[in-house]
Symmetry: C2
Subunit: 378 residues, 2 copies
DNA sequence: GCATTTCATTGACACGGTGAAGGAACAGGC
DNA sequence: GCCTGTTCCTTCACCGTGTCAATGAAATGC
């Protein structure tokens, strides 16, 4: 119920229509929330503006707003060499953030750094839940790291470890899915019920939202699209596939694709972009190829799932400055004749956004699936 | 509730575990169903066999079975030149079937033929619902044919027309999705909660089931995979894409791919298969390419959605006799290193199976979303 | 026979939903 | 200003569906 309040300040009548419930039901369910201070009537009447002017007959509704500040969440994103953490409110607004470098990927090291960050961020009030985003196989709302190639972990019961150390209910989530949840809950995809989030960076990641649900798949394996074939020819990825997505889109593929012919093996992404800015032919070609690969991927997603919107994110997104034309061309070319063209939104986001996604997952976890042990504490 | 009874005869306790409800709840909800004769206690104790022998302690459960015969459904599949219809019970078992040729695709002609078939099949008892499967864009449980390229229809309120003429509640469904529903409900995918159905024939179709739900997409556009790129090179499809799925897999692509070099423009699929049986090099190559295309498609699906099972269906399935080795090789090659290999099941089905799927959709529609006007009649 | 185990039923009860009825707040016409 | 129409919100009685706790029933194994 509270979940849909996040679609903005809404009057009770509007809520009833959106949730397909009777007005009586809304009144009843919101009363305890009002008393508990979780929602409030908005005296400002913000939401009345977009109403059609001619329809101003009748008693105006009293908008309800979620007092998001009442509930705090912490989200953590773990990469192979860094840990990022943010504290957010229930609306997913970041209040504070922090980060630590990782000396190694030992369990003790990582857990210690996470705990430091959590203790740093938790001080202003009670934290409702802690969400941790990591790469690798995990179900939605998991408690164990099944397999993480970057950390070299297998079957680590991280949620339990953190819960015991912090006293905060903790949930794990696959990172691309956490980012997707963040995007859909309170990011550029807010209010959309169907979208995909395509991330480009060290790898190629994918999160899918269908009918307001973030897909997890039977064993948390949704979104392995790194080896989708996107072109007739082109570079070969590390598994020997010619023309697969990883071979065009990962940061390593791009820096090597430009650096090797230009004799600069240590080229980084910024330098590659600078080369392209200066009109370097190799760089422009590599970026154009990357754009084409992205366009094909987006078209394939739109064809397969009929998605109306695709959101691009990740630290490799800078390429779009040079890749956008070929992306658009490839998208138009590969789209099914009867499919509607999906809206492509770019979302430049740092690692904070991944951590924020983990916090959003924690928030959703509390809303849909309050952990039983919380009642023990109450 | 009844929906999960279709997962086989189950004891009440087993039902409670599967539905995550309390045993008390199961007893209460099944009592009126028992009284109404919709379910029955199965004296034969069929389902007790697969239990682990060592766990035979305690009072054995009384299996409940759905008396499927109490509810009848009719499913109709409309192609550009034929209409197929079947009568099934609630379990999706076909009791009778029929078919008509279509002289043309005028609305009156098609409706008249459907009505003839329905009246032929409806006589033994009350029909609960009528499901119609057609190609084209439609939402799940739609009532209007939005756009059907084969019939040349746009915005035809077919459900209303048939409802008025027959007095049976009617629902429309996109045909690949109907087939998928049939496969998952009572076909080879019975009991699986995640699977894809890939159809090969005049076109290439796809239906997806995730978490027990048949995906429809925001506007019924799931599953347009005809133009997915599956190879570096190869024939060109009618839209000019080199190496796309349609160019390898449709019946037309195969018959032309073999018929043109062999100078037999009128070659049909059976003749093409016969050529391959005789060791014709061109035919063997075309079928091997088709298998490779299928393997890549399956791998891409498995990677994108993490599906554990893919079911192949459609009238073009005969190719597998010669295409299976290349299919398996391509599947292994393109699967993500960390993905589990999906089970690939072949399901040889005629058009009756498509009609049966439409009947299953009608059954599901009644179970999850009983149409309000039925109460008017009662 | 008895303990053990699992299944199934019952009754008291809570929660979330509905429909009907009625009061409250606004706009507009007279 | 007052009535009317409209929409919003609340209250009340009620129902359906679920739970918990207690009890009985049917099997196995010692």
């Amino acid at each position: 119920m509270r979940a849909l309040l996040l679609a903005g300040p809404l009057s009770r009548a509007e809520l009833a229509r959106r949730l397909e419930r009777s007005p009586a039901s809304i009144t009843k369910t919101t009363q305890p929330l009002l008393a508990a201070g979780l929602v409030a009537e908005d005296a400002g009447r913000i939401a009345e503006e977009p109403a059609v002017p001619g329809e101003s007959r009748g008693r105006p509704g009293v908008p309800l707003v979620l007092l998001a500040g009442r509930h705090l969440f912490i989200g953590v994103k773990v990469t192979s060499n860094e840990v990022f953490a943010v504290r957010t409110d229930a609306a997913g607004v970041v209040q504070a953030s922090g980060h630590r470098d990782l000396a190694d990927v030992e369990q003790e090291t990582v857990v210690a750094q996470i705990l430091e960050l959590v203790n740093e961020l938790r001080e202003p009030g009670e934290i409702q839940a802690l969400g941790v985003g990591l790469a690798g196989r995990m179900s939605r709302f998991d408690d164990t790291v099944r397999h993480n190639p970057f950390l070299g972990w297998d079957e680590v019961p991280l949620a339990g470890i953190l819960e015991r150390a912090t006293g905060i209910p903790t949930v794990l989530s696959e990172d691309a899915r956490a980012l997707t949840a963040g995007v859909q809950w309170s990011g550029p995809g807010r209010g959309m019920s169907d979208l995909a989030v395509l991330t480009v960076g060290v790898g190629v990641g994918l999160g899918i939202v269908i009918e307001d649900r973030v897909l997890a798949g039977p064993s948390g394996r949704v979104g392995r699209i790194g080896h989708m074939r996107v072109a007739d020819s082109g570079p070969v990825c590390e598994r020997g596939h010619r023309g697969c997505a990883s071979a065009f889109l990962t940061t390593a593929a791009i820096t090597q694709g430009i650096g090797v012919p230009r004799g600069r093996a240590d080229l980084d992404l910024d330098a590659a972009l600078a080369l392209a800015d200066d009109g370097d032919a190799v760089a422009l070609r590599v970026f154009a190829d990357a754009g084409r690969a992205l366009g094909v991927l987006i078209a394939q997603l739109a064809n397969t799932l009929g998605l109306p919107a695709v959101i691009l994110a990740g630290d490799g997104l800078g390429m779009l400055a040079h890749a956008r034309p070929s992306l658009d061309a490839a998208l138009a070319d590969h789209l099914d004749p009867h499919a509607t063209r999906p809206t492509v939104v770019t979302f430049s986001s740092g690692f904070d956004e991944w951590a924020r996604g983990a916090a959003v997952v924690a928030c959703q976890w509390m809303l849909v699936d309050p952990p039983p042990y919380r009642t023990d504490l109450a």
